[in-house]
Symmetry: C2
Subunit: 353 residues, 2 copies
């Protein structure tokens, strides 16, 4: 597989973005959704900001207060035995059997704009910012599906009540209409198909189970993009392979003659995130046609291997021009990069199922 | 609170039901949904059958094979250190961070019919039986909502891919139409309201989270009962109270002058299951009006305290006649019982929020 990584990579880094919160530092500008609007490429950056610490023994967890509209900080002592601080992204409560109790940063969505898709200018203000109790820990990993002249932007919302996926829509990227939570917790990595298939909208999603089951890709259908049902398990983890740990949809599915091409992420048991591809039936996307045995993109460049959380390539959006797939992707939970691949080469690389 | 438990309790027990599977024993006839059809009360029993063991050192886990349409048995040695057998309902894989790996019984739905609501005759054949890969570990805890002359029956479906909620509909209880999975894993305890509220259908549901969040009650809306969205967190666990461990909807919400009355179950940290009530706004059921400080029904009778999994009262359906609430409920994960309560007394017992 030929991979052309842009010379400009990483194309947006935390140094390019001024913090929105006073006393905070930007630690991540990553996992951006992508759209074309007029003559520009828009990148919907997940911007992660962390309170600047005044004490190395204290970890501060930012929480949005929907009543006051301000951020509040929880101060946690690193020697507090109730908590575990090994993962830099989260604080775990060792007395609770859940993944985490607090996040160490708060994320929201900011737009970056470009004429050439390589050099971006980041807006000064957030585009989507936490607004209610479902979003008090932040908003993450947006994806964008254009249907007609409407852009649907959906993203993970995080709160003590769970991680779900909410959606807004806009035609001009100035105002946005909120549609509420379209997938309830525990869910993320939703990707809405860009057109109806046999009269129905489809979406990929990635529930995370506690009772039984693994973090794998499911498919659902809808008549109005807001209410979803007929959920079906689509593809699973593969033992001893690059996608054994967890998988989730990445870019909005791409219509090809051979089927719907989904660029998805897979992580190993050691949390190394790669990108692969799966091909779904054109008339029935709940039927899997073919899948990558090997990744189409692995963390190899220095900026992919090192960062806030290293060894991660994680795409939330791609643009297709003829045979060229411009895959934008977050690197190391820190910055944005872009690589061009051949659509035909991706399709040829897949193994029939 | 006055509680009138039927003299006939338990009204259906495993001894009343002939196993459907050869070589199996019925260990549970419980957690039944309830409907009125013509001049009869129909009980949609969850029937749990367990393979009769030929060796005390072996636990057998039944799995439905959708390709052959038959049950297969996995044999697990009790001295196999990879597994844990402490909970009689499940087998845990100690190497996996999920709730369970296998169930020790398989459940499906069978109808019991009665003229007086006390003496039931159980159908010989299953009404809803596993049919696809989402149901290979069985079908559990049905609820029934009547809308017009159509009955919607929805239930937990269990497989290695997760626990979700699927739905069928019928007008005659002879044939049933399948509508697929309406809530994806990890979810159960769905309750569909019996009429539209301000132009939309509503349902309660109970996601279970792994990342963050507790097993609490959410509310969603729909236009067609099949696709669901606008998910909102509704009520949570309460520290050091009877519903601190987990909660979930029980009976179909009851329309009263004061609001929608939901009879829900709550379990303590020690897995003692009680029934309580919550009142939701008549025009906006996502708004909570009042809630039980104390349970309205606790496991006190011998048949409620002792059984396959003791100290459990768990209602999946109730009938309302004037001021009388006939609450049918599963006892000790074993049998069915019924108690009559006063609707007014339940309403009067609630504490405003």
């Amino acid at each position: 597989m030929r991979i052309y990584r842009y010379e400009e990579n990483p194309i947006v880094t935390p140094a390019d973005v001024k913090p929105f919160h006073e006393g905070f530092e930007v630690i991540g500008t990553f996992n951006a959704g992508i759209a074309k609007y007029k003559d520009e490429v828009l990148m919907f950056l997940r911007v992660a900001e962390r309170p600047i610490s005044d004490d190395p023994n204290i970890v501060q967890a930012p929480i949005y207060n929907p009543d006051t509209g301000t951020l509040e900080l929880i101060r946690l002592r690193k020697d507090d035995v109730r908590y575990e601080f090994a993962d830099p992204r989260v604080v775990k409560d060792v007395t609770q059997n859940v993944g985490f109790a607090y996040l160490t940063s708060i994320s929201y969505i900011r737009i970056a704009r470009s004429k050439d898709g390589r050099r971006f200018t980041v807006d000064d203000q957030p585009f989507i910012y936490p607004s209610d109790k479902s979003e008090v820990f932040g908003i993450e990993d947006p994806r964008v599906t254009q249907i007609g002249d409407t852009y649907y932007i959906y993203f993970s919302v995080v709160s003590p009540n769970g991680i779900g996926v909410s959606m807004v829509s806009t035609k001009d990227f100035e105002s946005a209409r909120r549609h509420g939570m379209i997938f309830c917790p525990d869910n993320k990595d939703v990707l809405i198909f860009p057109e109806k298939v046999n009269g129905k909208y489809y979406a990929l999603h990635r529930p995370t189970m506690k009772s039984i089951g693994s973090p794998e890709i499911w498919i659902a259908e809808s008549e109005n993009l807001i209410h979803w049902g007929n959920h079906k398990h689509l593809i699973g983890l593969r033992e001893a392979m690059w996608d054994w740990g967890r998988i989730g949809g990445g870019a909005v599915p791409i219509r090809t003659d051979k089927g719907w091409l989904e660029l998805y992420h897979g992580a190993s048991k050691e949390h190394r995130y790669c990108m692969g591809a799966v091909l779904l039936d054109l008339d029935d996307p709940s039927h899997v046609v073919a899948r990558s045995l090997k990744p189409i993109l692995e963390p190899e460049a220095e900026y992919e291997r090192n960062g806030f959380f290293g060894d991660v390539v994680f795409s939330c959006g791609a643009l297709v021009e003829g045979d060229i797939v411009k895959m934008y992707y977050g690197v190391a939970d820190t910055s944005m990069a872009c690589a061009e691949l051949s659509l035909q080469e991706i399709l040829d690389s897949l193994t029939e199922i």
